[in-house]
């Protein structure tokens, strides 16, 4: 059993009024779309920066492992060095100096080529702390931003 209700036809606005509504609707939709598109663009750039940040972190992990391996092959070399941001500032021609220089060069070519990419080794050989610094401000500030660092502890 169903109840049938008959609706009265709505009042149809005049043609003049309808034209005005169409204009406002389009303007509002343009505005809404513009805001939406801005959001999409922001999301895209965030995704790109996130991808780059993730690659840089991967590279930093690989470089940390790399210097640990180099130190293990030369256990008597004292690899400790303060925060070094330029390969040219490492002096010497022995294996230790060459390794350190190659490491800083590799950091620059793999993690990031800017001035904020640095390496530091302390506490060797008993409790080595290897720190890789790099600028990750593009990927956000929550993980340290400009002064992002990755710390690895190892014993030689």
């Amino acid at each position: 059993m169903s109840l049938v209700t008959i609706q009265h036809p709505r009042h149809i606005p005049s043609a003049r009024l309808q034209q005005g509504m169409g204009m406002i609707e389009v303007l509002v939709s343009v505005l809404v779309l513009a805001v939406g598109l801005l959001g999409v663009a922001a999301m895209q750039s965030l995704a790109l920066r996130g991808g780059q940040g993730s690659l840089e972190t991967s590279q930093a992990v690989m470089q940390s492992n790399s210097i640990v391996e180099a130190m293990r092959i030369n256990p008597t070399g004292n690899y400790n060095m303060g925060k070094t941001c330029s390969a040219a500032s490492v002096t010497g021609t022995d294996l230790r100096a060459n390794d350190q220089r190659a490491w800083v060069t590799a950091l620059k070519s793999t993690v990031g080529a800017d001035a904020a990419t640095c390496g530091q080794i302390t506490g060797c050989p008993g409790a080595c702390v290897i720190t890789v610094f790099w600028d990750d401000s593009r990927a956000g500030t929550d993980q340290g931003g400009t002064a992002r660092s990755l710390v690895t502890n190892a014993r030689i």
Binding site: S29, V40, S54, A70
Partner: protein
């Protein structure tokens, strides 16, 4: 009319967003591919190189003095890394014992019996581990031979050539130290833009894509720097791998390219 112009504007904007979306997708995909290739190459190559020259037995185990060492024995013991004769650091050949070795309970000069069962160090069926014509390392604390598998039974594996003495009667090495393991020979090389690996001289398998440069350099014990052409392969203690990777698609007429480098020490030489 104005509505139409605005509408077209909106459509144009939507199209522009679509295009930039596509480009950002390509850039992201390129980066992810690079990361994936770098990681897989890093993990798999490192594992092979670390194991170079390693066997389940002592480093001092060597073939009997009366036995003429075969090419495989020389490679395993003296030069576990090499460049396949290219001389330019573009390829790397690594030889080692497999990381799974099986305990031997009895032996003759041309067959060995494995401990079968389900306990530790025991194998359910020797056919699970070895096949006819497999290259195997037969070693104890004192002796090491590289042999070829003949017939493989549930517990008995025959091999050629025969050992000069029965492995389990060596006075210098107790029978408990006798092990049987597969011989592993791995060649890493680049073909086109692919990173390939060939195991046991077989057909190359592609591991990673987008590799535009691959070079190996070696550290000789006592030297102060890495070189692509070491004077003595016997004394190589570490390997440095440098790779250049690039993404598949072009983004704004540029290809995304990143460098990867890694140093790996040979465990049998370093520790």
């Amino acid at each position: 009319m104005i509505a139409m112009v605005l509408g077209l504007l909106v459509m144009g904007a939507a199209f522009a967003v679509f295009q930039s979306n596509q480009r950002s997708y390509q850039a992201n995909q390129g980066l992810s591919r690079i990361q994936e290739s770098a990681r897989v190459a890093f993990e798999l190559m490192s594992r092979d190189m670390r194991a170079a020259g390693g066997t389940a037995c002592s480093n001092l185990a060597a073939p009997d003095v009366e036995h003429t060492a075969t090419a495989d024995e020389i490679k395993l013991r003296s030069a576990p890394v090499g460049d396949n004769g290219t001389g330019d650091g573009s390829q790397l050949v690594v030889t080692s014992g497999d990381d799974t070795a099986y305990h031997v309970t009895a032996a003759t000069t041309n067959s060995i019996t494995l401990a079968t069962g389900t306990g530790p160090g025991e194998i359910n069926d020797a056919k699970d581990a070895f096949k006819t014509n497999d290259t195997m390392i037969l070693c104890s604390a004192n002796l090491l031979y590289v042999v070829k598998a003949g017939t493989v039974g549930t517990s008995v594996v025959t091999f050629t050539p025969a050992t000069p003495v029965v492995m389990t009667v060596d006075p210098m090495a107790p029978p408990a130290t006798v092990m049987l393991a597969k011989y592993r020979s791995t060649r890493w090389y680049r073909n086109g833009t692919g990173l390939f690996v060939s195991r046991e001289g077989g057909v190359g398998q592609q591991v990673a894509d987008g590799v535009t440069a691959l070079s190996f350099s070696y550290l000789v014990d006592g030297a102060s720097s890495y070189t692509a052409t070491p004077a003595s392969w016997t004394d190589v203690v570490a390997v440095r791998v440098d790779m250049t990777l690039q993404g598949a698609d072009q983004v704004d007429n540029k290809t995304i390219s990143r460098n990867v480098s890694n140093v790996i020490s040979l465990r049998s030489r370093a520790l």
